[in-house]
Structures are given as structure tokens and as C-alpha cells.
């Protein structure tokens, strides 16, 4: 039975056409994956089913949900439909929950809105059942918990419980696991699969990650620039015909060609590094507690080597990064760069690229000034030639230096971030989740660029990431970090094919695999 069928949907915001002739359908008990890069219109397709569109948007075509045309429904009818017939799970569980309401109240709210005759205690009872179904049993997670008392994965379970509280026929999940760690992602995906099976729901799973979708979906829809380019069954990787689909699959498993050989000279030496944080006092005169974020970590990076540091959020990898960059003091051990302790003297040998291409630039400066910032370390101004050379080396053009940062796309910004790191010719570049926020095709380009640059300039990379496939693609050696400690270290290929530590095995097993073509 078809729950949802979208036929020839055209959507425009103002005069700007966003979606063109989008058609797709979801049947009961069916998982349909919609894949696309940012700006492909995949989220707006989902939002148009709910008619939760930005101001000025207008739809033509047909969206038929349980036999009714959504586009002709009145606002009160739409309100009755949202949450009852269609549930929605969002990407960011941090912002999808109200921080000042208990989880029980938030799940019960959906029930109370749609069934106003329900008594409050009955609604809470049903909320409890919904949370239990989402593996948050009330004896361990009472309804009186607040969102900040839960982890990211647990919050996402609450969001899912809200969506399924009324047992809707259709569930729309918009990047439900993008903000989560791999092991949590695997759990959430398993939960969604179970709920779909139990309730016979239809699931519209929207993601940029081919591996996630191809693990779960019965059918896959590929979108690009507001149009569906290809639709296929779960074995799309074998039947695909459209060049864009092929390019997408190729980019997802992309391995850049690297030729640089590491030398046997250690560049960065981390010796027994320990970093403590002071926790807030529990009582006015109570003892000050500390939290050990990095616990006796030791490792070395050889000159010209590319080292991966893998771990889930909260494992201490960001704290370690800040200590390596000399931004935070250590409580024990030492970090040597080229034989000298990190500090103002050796800072010029090291630069960093951050994850978020949108937050790593001062929006009020022009690119030329942004890129030249590290010259402060050399106590001189960058020459125009140096700025141009840095921009050219990352595939941009010299006139770009006169632009502001918001005029660039995410991938271009990350190139600018790399240009900023390169400009003073450092030995070591720390890449802190540098490609995690990028679309797969852009990610492939940036990985190629990084491989190129390391060959050209003999760069050494410390690649910090939670994304195993990326680390596998670009590093020679890899460290696995858990709870402030390095649990496993080894050559990347060995580590991935024959992991020895149980945690490494869990990580690798949890990572969604792209089917081999």
C-alpha cells in the first residue's frame, strides 16, 4: 500500500525554483532513502510533505498522503496531520528538544495535542511506553529527566519517541545520525529499522551518507540540484546508470593517490601527556574535583608521515589537539616539536585546519587578510605574491583575496583554511575533522588536494577524525583513542583489517559499509 506519493512536485521560493519534477513514493513497511549533497533539495522535499516550508515557498504538483492531497489541505487539517500521520526526526537532537521541559512532558505533548481528551497521567503513561520502545526504560531514564542529563544518542531516542508516540504511518528522518558517533549511529539505525518493522511504518530516510542509506533502505532515490536523477532498489550500486550516481559512489570510497614516504626522523613527540580539567565545585566549601581528559598519552609522528587519531566524541582528542597546538597547558608529560617543547618558538612550524568551514573565519575580514594571518608568527606582513601563491596552491585564484568569506561555498572555505595553514610553510598541519562537514564529492577533492600538497611540500599531517573511512583513505598510521587513552596503534591497513583491541573492533563493526560494486 502506498502511504506517500509525490508526483511532479515543483517548489519555488519567491522566483527561485528549488525542486523540479520530483516524484517518489513510500509504501507501508518500506524504507526509502533519499541521498543528495547539500543544496540538492532533499530536506525541502521532506518538509513539503509536512508543508513546513519557508516563507514565500509555493508548491505545484501532487503530494498524496494516505490518499489525501497535502497541497490542498487547510492549515488546521495540516496541524492534525503533522505528528499524527507523519512523524519527523531531525538531525540535531540538541536543538530538537526543549531544554527546560522534561523528556516525559515533551513526548506526552504530542499525544495531548492530538488527543486533547486524554488525561495527563494517561498521556504520561503512553509517553513512558513510547520511550521504552525507544530503549529508554523508565526505571533507568525516568520521565522527569531533562535533555541535558542525556547523551546525544539518548536525546535522539527521545526525539524518535516523540515522533512515534502516536504510531504514525510515515516517519521522516532528516539526517538522523549525522550528528552522532559511529557506534551510536549504528544503534539509532537499528532502532529505526526495528520500529519500522514492528509498526509497519513507512520510513523516508534522508541522508548525505551513501553507506548509511544503502545499509538500510529498500529503495534509494538520488537527488541533485532539486531533481531526482536516479531511483533504484537497494542494489543500486550494481544497477546504477546515471553518471552522477556513479560519481557519488566513487567519491564516497575515494582514496587519494599518495606517494610521499615518511622519513625516519620524529617531528612531533608526545610523551606521557596528561591534561586535567577542573570541574565546578559541588558545594561551597567542597573539594575541587578534576577530570582527566587526556591520560598519559604518548606517540610520535615522523616527518612526512600522515597519522590518524580516531575516537568518539568526549574521548579527549580535541583536548589533545589543543595541547599539541600549545593553546592549553599540560598537567604532566611533554610535547616536543622538532625536539623543542611546543610554545611560541616552534609555533611557526605548525598550523591547523578546523572542522567548521563556516566558523573558522572572521566574517569581517577579506580573504587576503584571513589567509595572511599566520604571518604574525614571522613578525612580518605577507607579500601579495605569497598570498597569491597560497591561494593558487589550493586551487583558487588570486582575485579571490578581495572577497569576503561568505562569498565562498563550504568546500572553497575549507580550501582557504588550508591556504591559511600552508602560507608560512609549516612542517606539521593538524587537521581537526577537516573534511567531516563536507559533501562526499567535495571531500574527495579536498583529500586529493591534501595528498597533493603533502607530496609537493613534504608536509606532515595529524588527521583527527571520528570518520573511519576518511582516516583509512589518507593516513599511514593510526591511533585509536578512548576515554583519554590510546588503546591501539598501528599501520592503518593492519588496524582496519585486523584490529586487536575490542574497542577498535566495535568501532569498525559499527561503521556503515559501502557495498562493493
Amino acid at each position: 500500500m502506498t502511504l506517500l506519493s509525490i508526483e511532479q512536485l515543483n517548489l519555488s521560493i519567491g522566483d527561485l525554483p528549488i525542486l523540479r519534477d520530483v516524484s517518489l513514493s513510500v509504501g507501508a513497511g518500506e524504507v526509502v532513502g533519499v541521498i543528495g549533497e547539500s543544496g540538492s533539495g532533499k530536506s525541502l522535499t521532506a518538509f513539503s510533505v509536512m508543508q513546513l516550508l519557508p516563507r514565500g515557498a509555493s508548491c505545484q504538483g501532487r503530494i498524496s498522503l494516505l490518499g489525501r492531497d497535502v497541497l490542498t489541505m487547510t492549515e488546521p487539517a495540516l496541524c492534525a496531520m503533522r505528528g499524527r500521520d507523519v512523524g519527523m526526526v531531525f538531525q540535531e537532537p540538541m536543538t530538537a528538544l526543549n531544554p527546560v521541559q522534561t523528556i516525559g512532558a515533551q513526548v506526552a505533548e504530542t499525544i495531548l495535542i492530538h488527543e486533547p481528551k486524554t488525561s495527563k497521567s494517561e498521556a504520561l503513561e503512553r509517553a513512558k511506553q513510547a520511550l521504552t520502545r525507544c530503549e529508554l526504560p523508565a526505571d533507568k531514564f525516568p520521565l522527569s529527566r531533562y535533555p541535558h542529563e542525556l547523551s546525544g544518542g539518548q536525546r535522539q531516542r527521545v526525539v524518535i519517541a516523540m515522533a512515534i508516540a502516536l504510531q504514525p504511518k510515515l516517519l521522516i528522518a532528516d539526517e538522523p545520525t549525522t550528528a552522532l558517533d559511529v557506534t551510536t549511529q549504528a544503534e539509532i539505525l537499528a532502532l529505526l529499522a526495528r520500529l519500522v518493522r514492528e509498526d509497519g511504518m513507512g520510513l523516508l530516510l534522508i541522508s548525505h551518507d551513501l553507506a548509511v542509506v544503502s545499509d538500510m533502505a529498500d529503495r534509494i532515490v538520488i537527488m541533485k540540484d532539486g531533481a531526482v536523477v536516479e531511483t533504484g532498489a537497494a542494489d543500486l550500486h550494481r544497477t546504477m546508470t546515471h553518471p552522477y550516481t556513479k560519481a557519488l559512489f566513487a567519491a564516497s570510497g575515494h582514496q587519494p593517490v599518495r606517494s610521499a614516504e615518511p622519513q625516519e626522523i620524529p617531528l612531533l613527540q608526545v610523551q606521557n601527556a596528561t591534561r586535567d580539567y577542573t570541574l565546578p565545585r559541588r558545594s561551597l566549601f567542597g573539594p575541587v574535583d578534576t577530570f582527566r581528559a587526556v591520560d598519559g598519552v604518548s606517540f610520535e609522528i615522523k616527518r612526512g608521515e600522515s597519522l590518524g587519531l580516531v575516537g568518539e566524541s568526549g574521548c579527549g582528542k580535541s583536548t589533545l589537539t589543543r595541547a599539541i597546538l600549545g593553546l592549553d597547558p599540560l598537567q604532566g608529560g611533554k610535547i616536543l616539536l622538532d625536539g623543542e617543547p611546543v610554545g611560541p618558538a616552534v609555533r611557526r612550524k605548525m598550523q591547523v585546519v578546523f572542522q567548521d568551514p563556516y566558523g573558522s573565519f572572521n566574517p569581517r575580514h577579506k580573504v587576503g587578510r584571513l589567509v595572511a594571518e599566520p604571518f604574525h608568527l614571522l613578525n612580518r606582513k605577507a607579500t601579495a605574491e605569497e598570498v597569491d601563491a597560497a591561494l593558487i596552491s589550493v586551487g583558487l585564484t588570486p582575485p579571490d583575496k578581495h572577497k569576503f568569506i561568505h562569498e565562498f561555498s563550504g568546500g572553497q572555505r575549507q580550501r582557504i583554511a588550508i591556504a591559511r595553514a600552508l602560507i608560512i610553510k609549516p612542517d606539521l598541519i593538524v587537521l581537526d575533522e577537516a573534511v567531516s562537514a563536507l559533501d562526499v564529492s567535495i571531500r574527495a577533492q579536498i583529500l586529493d588536494l591534501l595528498a597533493d600538497l603533502s607530496d609537493q611540500f613534504g608536509l606532515t599531517y595529524l588527521f583527527i577524525s571520528h570518520d573511519l573511512s576518511v582516516v583509512r583513505a589518507i593516513t599511514d598510521r593510526c591511533l585509536v583513542m578512548k576515554a583519554g587513552k590510546i588503546v591501539e596503534e598501528g599501520a592503518t591497513e593492519t588496524l582496519f583489517t585486523a584490529p586487536s583491541h575490542p574497542y577498535t573492533r566495535t568501532l569498525i563493526a559499527a561503521a556503515p559499509q559501502l557495498p562493493a560494486a
Partner: protein, 269 residues
């Protein structure tokens, strides 16, 4: 854009009026003409005359001088001291210095401004200068708090981290990365404080603690008109409108300037 043009036009009218009053006013505001007292608006006296027969239009022109001067200087005092204090507190978050600055601000905040103004005038005597000082002091914590709060969130940005990796110190980062990104906020708050300054000056003059006779001031014009409001409403209405429209104009101009200064909006336009 419409806001900006409308706001700037209104502000410009009052600023020009104030400037022109140095050279020329329709009537001399220090000359009393009891025979013509409490005239309603005519072709001779556009806004009518007050209880001493002075021309209200001329008094508003001259009064604008006092109001605008007091408000500008008070905002400059508030920004000039408050913003650096806020930046310092944010750069040294959690330190003793931060505590001292912010608790000092709380102390000033804790006193009603009018009370301090009365205190100052009780010691130094009422005058426009003392009104400026009193209003200016109360602008400091407003700007310090605003700056600290916004700067704290900016300090967590990656570009600040990148600047630290580039070896830049707290002063340099505050000047290059924090302050420019606060500009929007400060301009809007500046215009609000400017208009509040005009209101505060009017309030101080109203209770007789601001500019002293014979210097005209909008606040004192209102105070003088209070007893006459049933008899000659225009005496109160015109200075009241002057205050209303200046404040309105400034607020709209502030909003407009903020939009123009934002590089993101600059391109979309």
C-alpha cells in the same frame, strides 16, 4: 534601507536645527515678550509662544543643542570606558580582574541613576556638564556587560583559535577579531543609549538638575509647561514631539546602519 533613510532624515533635521541655532534663530530665546505670551501657532510664531512670550520654535532649536550634546558625550563616555572594560573582562574570563570589573559594574547598576545625578548635583551644583557625567557613568555598565557577553561567545569561535595558533595575544585578538564582530551590537546599543540619554537629560532638566536657565532644554520646557497643559497644550506638545521624533529617528537610523555594516547583507543588496 527605508529605515535608514527615514531615521537619518529625522536625525539630520534635528542636528541641522541645532547647528543652525548657533547662527540664527527666528527669535532670541533670552528675550521675554510678556505681551505675546501663550500664543497658539501662527505665521509669526510657528510653534506658538510660552508663558514668557518666548518663541517655542526657537527654543526647540536651541534646546536640541543641549539634548544632543549631552546624549553624544554620555554615549562616548559609556562606550569609551565600557567597551574596553567588557573586552578585558571577556579576555580574562574567570580571573580576579574579570570579577572586579563586573562586580564594579553591578555596583553602579545597583544605584538608581537619578539618585546619583542628584548626588552629583548636590555636590557640584546643577549644570549640563554634571548631567553628562551622571548619564555617562550609567552608560558604562550597559556597554561593559553587553560587550563581555557577546565577546565571550566570540572567544569560542574557531577563527579566534586560528588567531591564537598564529601566535596573536589577547589584546590583538580583541582588537582584530572580537571588536569588529561586536560593531553591529554596539551601534544598535549606542543609538538606544543615545535616545535614552536624551530622555535622561530631559528627565534631569525636568526636575531642575540639568541645564540651568536661561539655557533652554527640552526637559525643562516640558517641566515649565506642566502647569499650563490645560490652558495651552501646544507649549508641552512641541518639546514632547521633539523628544519623540529624535528618539524614533535615532533608533531607526541605528537599525539601518547595522544592516549596512554587515558584509553579508552588503552583497545581497
Amino acid at each position: 534601507m527605508r529605515n535608514l533613510i527615514f531615521g537619518l532624515t529625522l536625525t539630520a533635521i534635528f542636528a541641522l536645527g541645532a547647528a543652525l541655532s548657533f547662527l540664527w534663530t527666528p527669535y532670541d530665546v533670552t528675550v521675554l515678550d510678556i505681551a505675546n505670551k501663550l500664543k497658539t501657532p501662527t505665521a509669526d510664531h510657528w510653534f506658538g509662544t510660552d508663558h514668557f512670550g518666548r518663541d517655542i520654535f526657537s527654543m526647540i532649536m536651541v534646546g536640541a543643542r543641549t539634548s544632543i550634546a549631552v546624549a553624544i558625550v554620555a554615549v562616548v563616555i559609556g562606550m569609551g570606558l565600557g567597551v574596553p572594560l567588557g573586552l578585558t573582562a571577556a579576555a580574562r574570563k574567570g580571573s580576579l580582574l574579570d570579577e572586579v570589573i563586573m562586580r564594579g559594574n553591578d555596583l553602579i547598576f545597583a544605584f538608581p541613576s537619578l539618585l546619583i545625578a542628584i548626588l552629583i548635583t548636590a555636590i557640584f551644583g546643577p549644570s549640563a556638564i554634571n548631567a553628562i557625567i551622571a548619564i555617562g557613568i550609567f552608560n558604562i555598565p550597559v556597554f561593559a556587560r553587553l560587550t563581555r557577553g557577546a565577546a565571550l561567545s566570540l572567544w569560542t569561535r574557531d577563527y579566534v583559535l586560528a588567531a591564537r595558533v598564529a601566535g596573536k595575544g589577547a589584546v590583538r585578538i580583541s582588537a582584530e577579531h572580537i571588536l569588529p564582530n561586536l560593531a553591529n551590537l554596539l551601534i544598535v546599543q549606542g543609538t538606544i543609549q543615545f535616545s535614552l540619554g536624551i530622555l535622561a537629560e530631559a528627565a534631569l532638566s525636568y526636575v531642575g538638575l540639568g541645564a540651568q536657565p536661561p539655557t533652554p532644554s527640552w526637559g525643562r520646557m516640558l517641566a515649565d509647561a506642566q502647569t499650563l497643559i490645560a490652558l495651552a497644550p501646544h507649549v508641552a506638545l512641541f518639546p514632547g514631539f521633539a523628544i519623540l521624533f529624535t528618539v524614533l529617528g535615532l533608533n531607526m537610523a541605528g537599525d539601518g546602519i547595522r544592516d549596512v555594516l554587515d558584509p553579508k547583507l552588503r552583497v545581497e543588496r
